[in-house]
């Protein structure tokens, strides 16, 4: 696995800001995420989660501020950052017209895995995600949970130090969701990967996250361990209470038309 040993933080941002015209999508984000941690990023639709992930994965340039991922600056060394990260998009990015094996082989080639190692790495990733028996089936015949596990297999194939997961369980039924959680926890246990996960699911946030941040209107409202955040609001407080308290209580009013349409498309494809 590729890590920058000199730095204990897998992700470090400083005043990270992105504006789209007059809209400030993220505003002065300060984050420190240690290696090996599963870090949850919560917030209503439009709070800035996806913009933040896009900047950290080098898909989008910040307007101002800076960030280091895996010890490398996202602006100065985007190639080094990309070698050290895996990414599962909110969208369904596995190619349905290819088999699971072919999807993984494409990733292996794009990540430059040596030809001598490809077969073993792909077999190992398929086994790890419970997809070995279905590797040669077209992905369009997979269930939603299988597709998400395949995407996780693609994201972990090159053994990245850091995984970015943008709402990886959106549209999945509870059983498939649990299977994805199990695989994520195993990834951290077996490979020590740092995981940054965005979610709207409070149970998911509490089950998986060592620490989480809640974004509201592009700013971080709070950072802390789930139990501490609940305790801070009272003995009976749930994660829903924490979310509503720190996310501005706008959960039912937020989200643009395109965001809602995209989420429904994803849910439909996985369903």
């Amino acid at each position: 696995m590729n890590t920058a040993a000199s730095d204990k933080f897998a992700i470090r941002t400083s005043a990270l800001t992105r504006r789209f015209g007059n809209l400030t999508a993220t505003d002065g984000i300060e984050l420190r995420i240690p290696y090996g941690e599963i870090f949850g990023l919560l917030g209503a639709n439009g709070a800035g989660k996806s913009t933040l992930i896009k900047m950290l994965t080098t898909l989008l340039s910040p307007t101002s501020g800076s960030a280091e991922v895996g010890g490398f600056d996202i602006i100065k060394s985007p190639g080094e950052v990309r070698r050290r990260i895996g990414y599962v998009s909110q969208l369904v990015s596995a190619d349905g017209a290819l088999t699971g094996y072919e999807n993984l082989r494409l990733s292996a080639k794009l990540y430059g895995l040596p030809a001598t190692e490809r077969g073993e790495r792909i077999a190992s990733a398929l086994e790890f995600m419970g997809l070995a028996d279905t590797a040669h089936r077209l992905v369009k015949t997979y269930s939603g949970g299988m597709i998400r596990r395949l995407e996780l297999a693609q994201a972990m194939l090159h053994r990245p130090a850091i995984l970015f997961l943008d709402e990886p369980t959106i549209g999945l039924d509870p059983v498939a969701r649990r299977m994805v959680w199990d695989r994520l926890l195993n990834l951290r246990r077996d490979y020590g990967m740092t995981v940054l996960i965005t979610t709207h699911d409070m149970e998911e946030a509490e089950t998986l996250s060592d620490e989480l941040a809640i974004l509201h209107a592009g700013r971080i409202s709070v950072v802390g361990k789930p139990a501490e955040l609940r305790a801070g609001l009272g003995a009976e407080a749930t994660m829903d209470d924490v979310f509503i308290h720190y996310a501005g209580g706008l959960i039912h009013e937020s989200g643009t038309f395109s965001e809602v349409a995209r989420n429904r498309r994803t849910a439909q494809r996985l369903g």
Binding site: K54, L60, R82, D95, L106, S107, K109, L110
Partner: protein
């Protein structure tokens, strides 16, 4: 260079797998050029209203119809790219350490292979219609190289449009707006010297003209390249390099 080839080959491989698995697009795209040759070409050949030198009208338009087929097939490549963007495939590719030029070049080469399949169909139809084709291996190889280059040009141009418009609906409108004028403002179905002056100027800056010019000399017995092969290939290569440079700059904006 090895990295460029390896990464581009990975993109080409998956495109070809998908094409072989579902060849309906190739079959449906073959219908239009066949109609142009069998119906339009035969009827216009009877009229004898267009002077095409020593070539029959059918022989004259055969390279034009191949180039049209290449243009129409490649120019809608952008739709597939927008579809990949909507699915999240583009995001996945752009987060990988693969170089942007490899991703764009791979798409262009894959479009070239689709163009070659179109060329095979048109060769077969032209032979069935007794068009006198050059069948020397070197000439056929040069035709395939021209088709690869032409497909690469129009697929990359299409990708640039996709990066600018970003939605399928807008792309469809612009795609229709571009293809027919490019086709008619070229030497595909009539020679340059019968065009009005203004149209000839447009045709001279249309890369399709140079593709057709090269194909006419390389594909048809007795055909010749008016501009010369060196000019034809130099123009096409230069256009491809410029478009590739622009596409490499714009492709990452699809994931923003």
């Amino acid at each position: 260079m090895k990295r460029l080839i390896r990464e581009s080959a990975a993109i080409v491989e998956v495109e070809l797998i998908k094409l072989v698995r579902d060849p309906t697009e190739i079959i449906s795209r073959a219908v239009q050029p066949v109609l142009w040759l069998v119906v339009f070409g035969q009827v216009l050949a009877q009229v004898r209203g267009i002077h095409t030198g020593q070539l029959s009208y059918l022989a004259f338009i055969t390279p034009g119809i191949l180039a049209q087929s290449v243009l129409f097939s490649a120019i809608f490549y952008g739709i597939a790219v927008i579809w990949e963007r909507d699915l999240g495939v583009v995001h996945k590719l752009l987060v990988s350490p693969a170089r942007r030029i490899s991703l764009v070049f791979g798409k262009a080469v894959a479009a070239g292979f689709r163009g070659i399949l179109q060329a095979v169909v048109i060769y077969l139809v032209a032979l069935a219609m007794h068009v006198s084709l050059r069948l020397e291996p070197l000439a056929i190889f040069a035709v395939l190289a021209s088709v690869m280059l032409g497909s690469g040009i129009f697929a990359t141009f299409s990708l640039i449009i996709a990066c600018i418009v970003k939605t399928r609906e807008r792309f469809m409108g612009i795609g229709q707006l571009l293809t027919m004028p490019m086709f008619f403002a070229s030497n595909a179905i009539y020679p340059l010297d019968i065009m009005p002056g203004w149209l000839r100027v447009v045709a001279q800056i249309n890369p399709l003209t140079y593709l057709i010019d090269a194909l006419r000399g390389l594909m048809i017995s007795g055909g010749e390249s008016v501009h010369g092969y060196a000019v034809d290939f130099s123009v096409m290569l230069a256009v491809f390099v410029v478009l590739l440079f622009i596409a490499v700059r714009l492709y990452p904006t699809l994931a923003e």
